[in-house]
Structure formats: C-alpha cells, structure tokens
C-alpha cells in the first residue's frame, strides 16, 4: 500500500517537472522582452538598455558625483550589488561567519593529521595555487569592471587553500585566517559607519571616482570587494581547516 503511494507521488512529481519545463521552454523561445535564449534581439530593444547605456571607451564619460549610484562602476551588476544592495552581501558574510562557528561547535575536536597525498599533487601545489590565487585576485580587483566580485573571488581563493589541504600541506594557519577575517569584517563595518557619518546613510559610496572603466574608478566599490573577498576566503578556508584540526606541518618524504 505504501509502495503504491510512493509511485503516485513520483508520477505527480514528474508531471510537475514537465509543467515547469514547458513554462521554461515557452519563456526561452518567446520574443517578448524577458529571458530570450535565442538572442536575435539587439540590446537596445530591451529594458536593460537604460542601465547599460554608458560607454566605457568614451574618454568624456566621467561619472559625476551625486548622480545615480549605478553610474559609478562599468559592470552594472556590480554597481547595483555594491551600491544599492551591499547590506545583502554584508549579511551573507555574517551568515557564513555563523556557519563557520557552527562547524567548530559540531565537529568533534579530535586531532587529525592531514592525509598523505600523491607526490604529483604535493609538488605541483605551488604552481596550481599560484594560478588559482591569480584568478581570484583578478576577480576581486577587477570586480567593478568585469564579471565577478568579492564573493565568488573569495570562494575561488578558498579553493586554492582547499587544494593545499588535499595535497597534505597546510599553507596557512587558522590563527592567521581568524586575524584576516576579523580585520576585514571590522573594516567593512567601519567604512559603512564612516559613510553614515559623512553622507548620512549606511554603506554609501562616499569616495569620488574617475573615468568609468579605469582601474581606480568606482569609489569605494573595489575596496569593499577586496575586504569581502578576504573575509569570505578566510571563512571558507577556516571550514576546510576545521576538518583537519590540529594539522601540524606534515613532513613528506
């Protein structure tokens, strides 16, 4: 009897999935403004054109302070995310911090050595880590110009630490990670408070920026992204190291 019910539930679930797939399909092929996978439309036909209508290559396109907040960064997603919705990211970072504390609470505190890995991974680790750190660093430094940003950059940097853990080398101590995380977190909220004092609202972008598309343009956005990347990478790396608690320097033959 119970078996019949399970099969019925499965059939219902598949029917529901089929309905969802039908709706997703109709949205993707429709020619209205919205999601369009075919992309025969040019960008100018869309609503987003209003936001995308800024030219990075134009030397006269200086963003004037006091204009709209999305004028400051070349990457419009970053402009919206880091000017209007930085509270979102900041609180996400706090959620991550609470998660890391929960890991420390739940996982048993037994000493566990870092496992031995293959010689190949052990020796190639510095090269691998260099490339991964380069990608992560590029992503948060260029966050206001190209796709990317603080959160994914921190995630990529922490995967470099993860490869270090898998290779059996402890590349950074958990004390250093805690210091980095604390400094970054305090700096984010002091900058936010400074904006409150100077301009009257929390997380306001109070630095003036230069040309759109320059390296040093978008005011406070690159600074916030750098701090968020450091904080996220320190937190996530702390999670990996938590699985190998007390991993003293493993001497490899």
């Amino acid at each position: 009897m119970k078996k019949d019910k399970t099969i019925l539930m499965n059939i219902l679930a598949i029917a529901f999935l089929a309905l969802l797939a039908y709706f997703i399909y109709t949205v993707t092929i429709s020619n209205d403004i919205g999601i369009n996978l075919m992309d025969d439309n040019v960008v100018a036909d869309r609503v987003a054109d209003r936001y995308l209508n800024k030219n990075v290559l134009d030397e006269n396109s200086i963003y004037e302070w006091g204009g709209k907040a999305e004028d400051s960064a070349a990457n419009i997603v970053t402009a919206v995310l880091a000017d209007y919705r930085l509270f979102d990211t900041a609180l996400e970072v706090i959620v991550l911090f609470v998660t890391v504390m929960g890991f420390g609470l739940v996982l048993p505190d037994e000493k566990r050595k870092i496992k031995e890995s293959t010689q190949l991974l052990y020796n190639w680790l510095p090269i691998l880590m260099t490339f991964m750190l380069l990608v992560g660093g590029y992503m948060f430094i260029n966050g206001h110009l190209s796709p990317g940003g603080g959160f994914p950059a921190g995630a990529i940097i922490s995967t470099a630490i993860l490869v270090g853990v898998l290779a059996g080398r402890q590349t950074v101590s958990s004390h250093t990670l805690k210091v980095i995380e604390a400094v970054a977190g305090i700096s984010i909220f002091s900058l936010a408070t400074m904006g409150f004092i100077l301009k009257g609202s929390f997380f306001v972008n109070f630095l003036e920026g230069g040309n759109i598309g320059d390296m040093f343009s978008a005011g406070l956005i690159p600074i916030f992204y750098t701090l968020i990347a450091f904080k996220v990478s320190a937190e996530l790396s702390g999670v990996y190291l938590e699985f190998y608690k007390g991993g003293e320097e493993h001497d490899h033959a």
Binding site: A21, L37, P147, A155, T159
Partner: protein, 77 residues
Amino acid sequence: MMILLASILAVIMVAAAIWVLITPNILNAIIVFAVVSLVASVLFIFMHAPDVAITEASIGAGITSALFILAYKRISE
C-alpha cells in the same frame, strides 16, 4: 543552434538531478550534484549572466561538493 545546445544541456541537467535522487551511492550522488551545478552555470552564460555563472560554478560546483565530500568521508569513518 544555440537553442538546441541549451536544450541538450537542460536535458542533461534534469537527468542528472533525477540520478542524484535515485542513486543509492552517496558519493555518486555528490559528484552528479556538482554536474547539475556546472550545467546550470553554462546555462547562465547562455542567458548573458556571467556574474551568476561565476558564482554558481565556484560555490555550487566547487565548494558545495568539496564540503559534501569532506563531510561524507568524516561520517563514513
């Protein structure tokens, strides 16, 4: 052409998601779950959302599966 590729990827994604549900081996399920995230990030690129695609690839496919595997090894010991 693009819609064909996207459809194939979507079919792969749905098939992988069903596989995650029905496979008895937990390690297989974790790895196929990473495949779901990876295909989702490719679909995000097709929809011109590179920011979301980067986040999905790094967090959904990378960190989530790494944490799942670490936790699974820890539990199975």
